[in-house]
């Protein structure tokens, strides 16, 4: 995982203070009004672009703002030559391929992330785009819905624009905006049948949502995944970290979840990844015992410096965390996310509330 480029300008003493406030129980966050599970407040709107199939904009209170436009275009499916007997293109009444189950391809969904100040091929946008694409494609249901017939399919372009400079790690914001945009994406309804050249209804009111609303109350509606960022600081788990909080994190987890229809939990995990915390790149503090100006002895070699640092682990002198996360902590985070009334359910519910309310 590539480390983050933007770093906070905090001194080792400030980092140490921040870390100790975050690791006490209960943790005291940078914004003291927030608990460990609270997200930053946001303003969200959808259907903001007239020329896109679906769009959404979310602005966080700190000024970070993202805009997502989803566009669907019809594309010809390349016909791969197969050996042996071939079944002809189907214009008759057979209905074996009508639902598109298992027909989708990953290449039909393309995610592009544009972050101001970064080139398109820089590590951060590329990494963010692949993370988002991975979570979208994980369930396999989305790409199957893009199937039109054996000769044509929809190509879904998801273009994500970060309108402000990335003040904090933007993955959570981008994912929530994409979620809202996909939730409101409509594709024109098909009028042609079977393997004919596709012809669409030009009435937008007849367009069908990409993520159809559930007909019955009992089964939860299938929804696009949301990526939730969580950091571990000491024994504490903190969600939706600010930039400064990321700078002292022991480990960062990105958990993509979606609503579950069957299981007893509130949500199900689609994918999970660790992200290299930017705290690795913070400068370590020099303790008095290693500083000859304050009566200590400066280490002669780097090996000696390492052993001296090893002994300072609990002294409160800032040493960048070496990464790694206890297995128990990972399971604790996932449990907090997926349980009934957990973080995932809360977020997905809140975003659904924007669309319906």
């Amino acid at each position: 995982m590539p480390p983050q480029a933007a770093l906070v300008n905090l001194s080792p003493a400030e980092l140490s203070f921040l870390r100790s406030t975050l690791s006490q129980t209960p943790p005291l966050r940078l914004d003291v009004t927030k608990g460990p599970r609270d997200f930053r407040s946001m303003r969200a709107e959808y259907d903001v672009l007239p020329s896109a199939n679906g769009s959404a904009r979310i602005a966080l209170e700190d000024g970070t703002e993202a805009l997502v436009g989803v566009k669907a275009e019809v594309e010809k499916t390349p016909q791969t030559p197969v050996l042996g007997e071939q079944d002809d293109v189907d214009m008759s009444n057979g209905d074996e391929h009508s639902d598109g189950k298992g027909q989708g391809q990953n290449a039909w969904v393309q995610v592009g992330v544009d972050v101001p100040g970064f080139r398109d091929d820089d590590a951060l946008p590329v990494f963010l785009a692949s993370m988002l694409a991975e979570s979208l494609l994980a369930s396999g249901e989305l790409k199957d819905r893009l199937y039109i017939n054996r000769r044509f399919h929809w190509k879904l372009y998801i273009d994500i624009l970060l309108l402000s400079p990335p003040l904090s790690y933007p993955l959570g914001l981008l994912s929530m905006t994409t979620h809202l945009a996909l939730l409101t994406t409509h594709i024109p309804s098909l009028k042609s049948e079977k393997d004919e050249d596709p012809l669409f209804d030009d009435d937008w009111d007849a367009a069908s949502p990409l993520y159809p609303k559930s007909t019955s109350k009992s089964s939860a509606r299938d929804k696009p995944p949301v990526i939730i960022l969580a950091i571990a600081v000491g024994p504490n788990i903190i969600f939706d970290p600010a930039k400064e909080e990321l700078a002292v994190a022991d480990a960062v987890l990105a958990i993509a979840c979606t609503t579950s229809s069957s299981s007893s939990t509130g949500a199900k995990i689609v994918s999970i990844r660790t992200i290299d915390p930017p705290s690795h790149l913070t400068p370590p503090a020099v303790p008095n015992s290693m500083n000859s100006a304050t009566g200590g002895t400066a280490p002669d070699s780097s090996a000696q410096a390492l052993t001296m640092r090893e002994m300072l682990a609990t002294s409160g002198v800032w040493t960048p965390p070496r990464g790694g996360m206890k297995r128990g902590l990972v399971s604790q985070v996932t449990k907090m996310v997926v349980e009934k009334g957990g973080v995932a359910e809360e977020i997905i519910g809140a975003l659904a509330g924007i669309e319906t309310g």
């Binding site: 672009l49 602005a59 402000s164």
Partner: protein, 251 residues
């Protein structure tokens, strides 16, 4: 030609139902983004622009931090979203049309902003085109003006812009009223008619920007310019109301 505007002479109504001298619905907001020094959002019909201004600030570490002669350096970046048009099209950094627009904005605002007050510093204007439907350059100029006002950067006057076209065609020569110049074009009209973008300083008749890329008969230019300048005055009124309306919230 994708479509025909020759129907204009029949009812003197344009494709979207406007008269020759009507602007599209123009709506603007300022201070839309908390993280920027100044920001604005402008809609001219279906053309939607988001603009943010950073600065005056110390420029990037490499190269010259400010402009020459103790003046601030203007930087303009235009980013056109891939979903902005009818078909999805990704426009790269080095696109010629975009860099030409950037240059035009840089030159135009270089003359309006009191850059000598900020030596050794840079003013960056970032424009995001969210949706395009004609009058792109004009909308960019208007959005940038609002964002600069929001950033509190001193300027001599508003720089407002508008497009105007000549609807005259050989076939409509017998109908004198059918060769009206048209104000504020949308994308379809832009594709078909010769048009110019004119930018004025506030309510005055001083033209700061004039871009004419299509062929047009000489005697038509004057009429187009006159209508364009008239349109600029109306847009100035709209932008002024936006700024004053925003100021009232703090009054």
């Amino acid at each position: 030609m994708p479509l025909d505007t020759s129907t204009y002479s029949l009812a003197l109504l344009r494709l979207d139902g406007r008269r020759w001298n009507e602007l599209r619905r123009t709506h603007a907001q300022i201070s839309t983004q908390a993280a920027a020094d100044g920001s604005s959002y402008l809609e001219m019909g279906n053309t939607k622009i988001l603009c943010s201004v950073t600065g005056p600030h110390e420029g990037r570490a490499s190269g010259q931090r400010g402009g020459a002669n103790g003046r601030a350096k203007m930087e303009v970046e235009i980013n056109s979203a891939a979903f902005s048009g009818t078909d999805r099209r990704k426009i790269g950094r080095g696109d010629k049309r975009t860099s030409e627009m950037e240059h035009c904005l840089r030159e135009a605002f270089g003359g309006v902003v009191l850059a000598h007050l900020y030596p050794h510093s840079t003013i960056t204007i970032n424009l995001n085109i969210l949706s395009q439907d004609g009058s792109l350059l004009a909308a960019c100029i208007n959005a940038a003006t609002l964002a600069l006002v929001d950033a509190g950067i001193p300027m001599t006057d508003y720089l407002v812009a508008c497009t105007a076209a000549s609807s005259a065609s050989a076939s409509a020569a017998d109908n004198a009223s059918a060769d009206d110049p048209l104000l504020d074009l949308n994308a379809l009209e832009e594709q078909e008619l010769p048009f110019l973008t004119v930018g004025c300083l506030g309510d005055s008749d001083k033209v700061a920007v004039c871009v004419l890329e299509t062929r047009v008969r000489m005697e038509r230019v004057e009429g187009m310019l006159a209508v364009g300048i008239e349109g600029c005055k109306r847009i100035k009124g709209i932008l002024d109301d936006v700024v004053k309306g925003y100021g009232k919230r703090f009054g």
